[in-house]
Symmetry: C2
Subunit: 324 residues, 2 copies
């Protein structure tokens, strides 16, 4: 599974070495957007593609793993929310299919890290505060993703932004650190490295890509999103960044009126995220996307996204004052 771009000199750091990738760019394993087409395209371009197990039944995940392996010889991974109901079955599939890398989130990093390590799998855990970063170190994970307030979907209660979170986590732990939240350009990638990250995880930009499995109606709303069009919502249940639509307006009304958690649960019901993001009902569906969607204006193939990120990074570095 070790893989190299031959005859190309590239930067190497702790993240590219750990994950055996060319660029320190990870595609977030997002619900309803991250199937085998997106993950394999990202891995084929030298980043790390992740399948989003959070929206897949175990048999669907297995199919996507098999298709990803057929579509790329490069490393890829699976993102697994640890609160997933079929978690044992999911982990069995990941182990038996020899997936090389697992990103875990939404749960205790201690629960699965040892089992995955025993099977030769690299483990990365997603956190949003120092307390959980330290738990990750205790659990022996190989790297962490620190995700800021501006990120789409589920998010930390502290509301710490990427700008504040990354230096804080960098000061607290020494393991490799991947920054997430608000990164959709080479200049934001450069900012993440300045803050102390060793790599970046990018969600919204890949959700909007040609290879994303998001419904075209959802992609079109990502392109249309302007400043202020996403808000961290549902704080009485689990803070989630939503894109403004009819469903969001109903959430907002409950929030402004101080509704109880039960009222939110009742409104939310079941299957809202699938309805909006995968089936394209952009009025009644729940649309999870990051604040940086305001800067995304075109559906691009993954190859173009990589070219833009890399040239943008190199340009940003060249225009920064070399010293003060």
């Amino acid at each position: 599974m070790i893989w190299k771009f031959e005859n190309v000199i590239t930067m190497q750091n702790r993240i590219t070495e750990l994950l055996k990738i060319k660029y320190p760019i990870i595609q977030g394993g997002m619900v309803w957007c991250s199937g085998w087409e997106l993950a394999s395209a990202v891995s084929n371009n030298g980043g790390l593609g992740l399948l989003g197990a959070g929206s897949m039944h175990p048999d669907v995940l297995k199919e996507h793993i098999i298709k990803t392996k057929a579509a790329t010889n490069n490393p890829f991974g699976v993102n697994v929310p640890l609160l997933y109901p079929d978690i044992e079955q999911i982990m069995d599939i990941i182990i038996s299919e020899k997936v090389p890398i697992v990103f875990t989130s939404a749960g205790n990093p201690k629960t699965w890290t040892q089992t995955l390590h025993n099977n030769g799998i690299t483990v990365v855990h997603v956190i949003a505060n120092t307390k959980f970063a330290l738990k990750c170190v205790e659990a022996g994970v190989d790297a962490i993703v620190a995700e800021g307030f501006e990120a789409g979907g589920h998010n930390g209660r502290e509301e710490t932004t990427t700008m504040c979170l990354i230096p804080q986590i960098r000061n607290s732990v020494t393991i490799p650190l991947i920054a997430a939240g608000g990164i959709a350009s080479g200049s934001a990638m450069a900012a993440a490295f300045a803050l102390g990250a060793d790599g970046v995880q990018i969600g919204s930009l890949f959700a909007s890509s040609l290879e994303s499995s998001a419904h075209i109606n959802f992609k079109n709303l990502i392109l249309a999103a302007a400043e202020g069009d996403t808000k961290l919502s549902l704080k009485k249940l689990s803070p989630t960044r939503l894109l403004n639509n009819e469903f969001y307006q109903k959430v907002l009304e409950l929030e402004l009126n101080g509704a109880t958690p039960d009222k939110f649960r009742e409104l939310l019901g079941k299957g809202r995220a699938k309805k909006g993001m995968f089936l394209g009902d952009t009025d009644e569906g729940e649309l999870e996307i990051g604040q940086v969607s305001a800067m995304i204006n075109k559906i691009k193939p993954v190859t173009e996204i990589f070219n833009d990120l890399i040239s943008g990074y190199n340009k940003a570095i060249r225009t920064m004052p070399a010293s003060l």
Copy 2:
């Protein structure tokens, strides 16, 4: 008023040239923290010190301007919230005292820019979204400060974080751009430059400095602040980032119960910010500070802050991948 550090080679850019300063570091003109001692210390260290007119009666401001001029030969400025009741009188004092630079905020940049320019004064306006950035260009201001969600005190309704806001504003306008919100270290400064800023405005870190006029009780709470201890609050009036204390808990209770704007106004009353930040009643006072307070752990003199920022910037630049 043109001033130079002799025999020292330093970087120069559009912000250092516009404001005639050594380092592209501006101290935010904060209410109750930014008197002549802080502003002159910052200017003497090669940054731009700003007096915070938002918490000064006109005669108090005049006294602080005179004291600042006595304490430094370097450029300094005044931050003026344009909704200030005595705005005409404030501007008369600024003009007659020949203050070289004015930062305006909380109002329309068209109202005063021409008058200030006619008197040879450089004008910088503070914004939190693209719409107002474009208004600033129309009004002919010399530079803008773009302030992200993580900043302390009054804040934009869009909740756009510094990581998302700076590239967005950089793509929309060509005038010099100063980043604010979440910046209290050299690495965050480097991140701001990577995002496209020409300079940084730093608030919380200077509010906690030895020379700040904030009450010691407030400074001690800034040092004690942990992740999640500040929240953007009072959204039904004007979004304001507050530090968690007894008063904040009362605000939070109203928010969770969906209280009307009148209930918030009633709770707020008059003089809460002075009570907390200047008089040191940290239970009943309103404490405005940025999210980055979680990283501030020591009261430092301004000279030490400058040394740390500059060495931190230079270190951050050296540790970033030079290209991808």
